[in-house]
Structures are given as C-alpha cells and as structure tokens.
C-alpha cells in the first residue's frame, strides 16, 4: 500500500515537473526596439495594450503592460504614441507581456 502511494506520488511529481520544465522552455522571450503606434488603456487602468512597430522588421508587435510604474507613465503622458521604446517581453498564453518597457531617449 505504502509503496503504491509513493509510486503514484513519484509519478505525479514527475509529470508536474515535466510540465513545468516544458513550460519554461516554451516561455519565449523577446527583445525589441520599436515605436509606439497605438496605446490603449483598459477601463480600470490596470492594463495597457501597446502596438510597437519593430524598427528592424517594420512588423507590428502587440505588448500587454501591467506594471504600475509604466502605467503611471502612460497616465501623465511621459510615454506617448510616437515614442521609441526598448522592450523585453515574454510570450504567455499567446500574449506578449512586458518585462521591461523603457524609452530609448536619455540625457
């Protein structure tokens, strides 16, 4: 009895870890420099959807932003359409969620 349980536990653990591992392998990371062509805040102001035009390929990439610091910068227009952004993102559930979203400009 004890043995079966532990075998089942082992099997479950292995499955979980395999799933977890393949998840991390899948979680694609992207990096790009692009210009904001569209910026939309959700009604509750907790997420923003931004379209970045990739400076290299010219392709549009849609990014989801949820961190407060960046959302706040959209709010007082520190970051607006037309600004150039350096962005790191992760593909999660078919969406690109932002891990870093910074203006390229500085002084």
């Amino acid at each position: 009895m004890k043995k079966t349980v532990s075998i089942i536990v082992m099997a479950v653990l292995m499955m979980v870890s395999i799933v977890a591992l393949s998840r991390t392998a899948q979680a694609d990371e992207g990096k790009m420099v692009g210009t904001i062509s569209k910026l939309e805040m959700s009604a509750d102001k907790k997420t923003a959807t931004v379209v970045l035009k990739d400076s290299k390929s010219g392709e549009d990439v849609t990014i989801i932003i949820t961190d407060d610091l960046t959302l706040d910068k959209f709010n007082d227009k520190r970051i607006v359409e037309g600004d150039e952004i350096r962005c790191k993102f992760e593909k999660e559930g078919g969406k690109n969620s932002s891990k870093m979203f910074k203006k390229t400009a500085g002084c």
Binding site: L69, K77, K103, C107
Partner: protein, 455 residues
Amino acid sequence: MIKKIAVLTLLASTAAVIGTFAAEHPGKEYILKNGYQGPKTCEVCHPGKAREFIGTVHWTHASKVDNVDGVKPNEVYGMRNRNYTMCNGNDIVNNLKEIPANDKGKTKFSGCNSCHPGDHASDVGSSGPAAEAAIDCLLCHSVKYDFSKRKPIKLKDGSVIIGQDRSVVAATNLGRPSNKTCMTCHEAAGGGVLIKRGFAMTASADVHAAKKMVCIDCHVVKNHKMPTGFDPNNWAHDGLRVSCAGQCHTEKPHKDAAIDNHTSKIACQTCHIPKTGGATAKDFTKWTKLDNGFYEPSTLKKEVNETTPAYAWYNLTVANRPEFIGPKGSRNDGKSKIYPFKVFQGKAFFNKKNGELLSMDFAQPSANGNTLAGVASATKILGIKDYEPVPGWQTIYFGSNHQVAPKKNTLSCTSCHAPNGVLNFKGLGYSDAEISKLTNPEIYFQRLLEKQEEW
C-alpha cells in the same frame, strides 16, 4: 519607544500629504479666475521664488567646489561644463539641437540641457527677467502635468525650445513633489533609463520607498536648495548636505553594540546598500548602430540590484585625474570610512598633447557613428586647437547611496569576516596579522551560534 512613535507619526503625516496637499492649494481660485501666465502668476502670492530658483544648482548646473583635486577655487563646476566618461560632454558641448539625418533620413533632438527646467531659450545658468519667466514651476509642482508637452520644438528661425505645460488644469492641481517628479530627470541621466546611477526608488528596492517615503523626505528642500551628499562624482551643490546619520538616524542606531562599534570605520551605506545597478562600462570611441538607424555609445548595462559595489576608504575629498575620478582616503588619516561605490569605466578620446580627456558632440556620431567628427565639433565649440585624439579608459567611482536593502539582505558578520568576504582587507591596508584575526571565526562564532535556530 518614544523615538519609534515619533518616526511613525512622521511617516503617517508624510503619507497623508503625498500626491496632494493636506488641504487645497489656496492659490487655486485665483488661478481659475486669472489664468496661468507662468511664474509671475505664482509670484503674486509667492514673491521672490523665481529669482531664488535661478540661483540654485537645478538652474545653474554648476557651483563652486572645494573637495575635488585640481579645481580652481573661484570657478564653478557641474554638468554645465564638466567632462567625464559617463557623458563625455556637457550642456555646452551637447547643447540641445536637431542632429543631422541618419541613413534612413531621420533626425532627432539631442542634448544634455534637456534636463533643465527652463525653455532652452533661457538656458542653464541664464538670469534676468526672461530667465525668471521661463522657469517651469509646474514641472515640479503640478500633479496633472502633461508631459507630452515637455519636448523640444524647432521654431521657424531654426532655434530649438523646450515646450512646457502651462495649462490652467496643471496650474490648479498642485501637489507635493513626488519620486516621479524628481525621476523626470534623474531616471534618464547618462543616456537612458537607470543608466547613470541605476537606482530605483521602488518598494522592492528600498526600505524607505516601501514605507512610502519620497526623495524630499530625505532631501529636505529649503528655499529650493536641494541637499546632496559627497558622491565623488556629484560636484555641484547648493551648500546643504544630507547624510544617513544626522536628521534621521544617529551614529549608533543599533541595539547591538557589536554593530555600532563599526560605524566609526564603516559607513552606514556599506552594510545597508549591498547592491547597485546601471551602466558599468561604455565605449564612446565606437558607437553601436540601432535598428532605427541611429547610433548610441556602446554600453554595458545592469539592472537595479545586479551590481556588487567596490569598497574603498573615503575622507570626502576627491581624486580627479584624466584616468580616474574617485574617493581619496586611507585607513590612517583619521577621517576616512569604508564606503561602497559603483565602479564605472568609460573609453573615450584623450588628447595625446596634454593627456586631458576630450569631449564629444553627440550630433555627428548619433547620426552616422563618426565619433572623431564629434570630437572635432566639440573641440571647435571649446576653442581647443592643438589636439591629437587617442582612445583610452577612465575609471569613475560613483557613490552608492540609495536602495537601502531589507534587513535580511544587510551585510552580516560573515559577509565581511568569513575568509571569502566582500572586503579586500589587504587592499584596504590591513596587515596579514590583522587579516588573520579579522577572518577568524572567533569574531562571530559564539554570536551566530546563539542566533542559529535549531535544525
């Protein structure tokens, strides 16, 4: 206990006024009725504030300096005129302008003096009525400032000015300057977000920020003078200083004498700020081409909290040589303490004729990567005729004074006293005999044993 209550009350009252005034700003009605015409509107009730402001470092970007080697006592120094390899230029050489077109036909505005609360027509260090009228009071005082208006604009005559939000909405929504007010400029210094100093005032990075403290809770501003410390690379100052021990903490703040015994030799920051971030090295002689067709100085960057500082004795006077800007001091001068520094190394062109670091106008290299054209332009602006550019490196020690870590990340006895500790005792001037004592478990064994939980 009483002290703790006092601190809590202070924090609570601070928290209450963050973002807005405790009460509505008394000038609101007046501005709603009469509109906002810039500083002169504020001066109706706050006379003298504009003139006061243009006397501070935030307007002049320079002051007299007396703790740095090789500076002249009657001249002023700061971002206005200094040259070092974090920026390789200054407000004069890199005056805000539209740069030449790149190979995609695109241009952009670039300049150090964009970090200035004037309109560029009245620039860094200007004075007189026009300068006083040009101050962007609302940049720091409004909580409804529209930052999309604060950008360079080219006028018909070709001159470049910086726009401001002078709307009634902005002028009737005043509030206490917050972290993001100050970070408007301090965040993007050095050529991008968190490049230069690489510190974030966020709850996860700093215990004070976690308690909702803001920049001006520590940098207590008096008549627009902002206190600073002794970062070897922050020369310009308003004559006021801030430090950990003083207005907020004492020199012996711990309940534990074993820790307090260190504070005469070791700065508070050394134990409490174990990590920093930002750029660690840049190459100004070879720029990197970006996908957008522009170039930027090749830069090695680190995230906030990714860099381990270097530790050195510092007596608050500064060595200033072409290849090195950093702390002076020694174990034996009776004035120095061990401080943490963020070490930065920059490669740029030096003048072979006199060994001095040459500066660079960014307009040309930003557009086409031609760094020597940038040097040529800078030398022309500065009237330097006799020069021969040769590449070389400069090392700079930046102070590491923010991002006070949570207690669990504070350096502990073994961080320093274990044989592989963070301090290089030999480099710091300790003898072999002293080192074997300082790295002997005798120093901490009993104490850690008592604190060690059963396992």
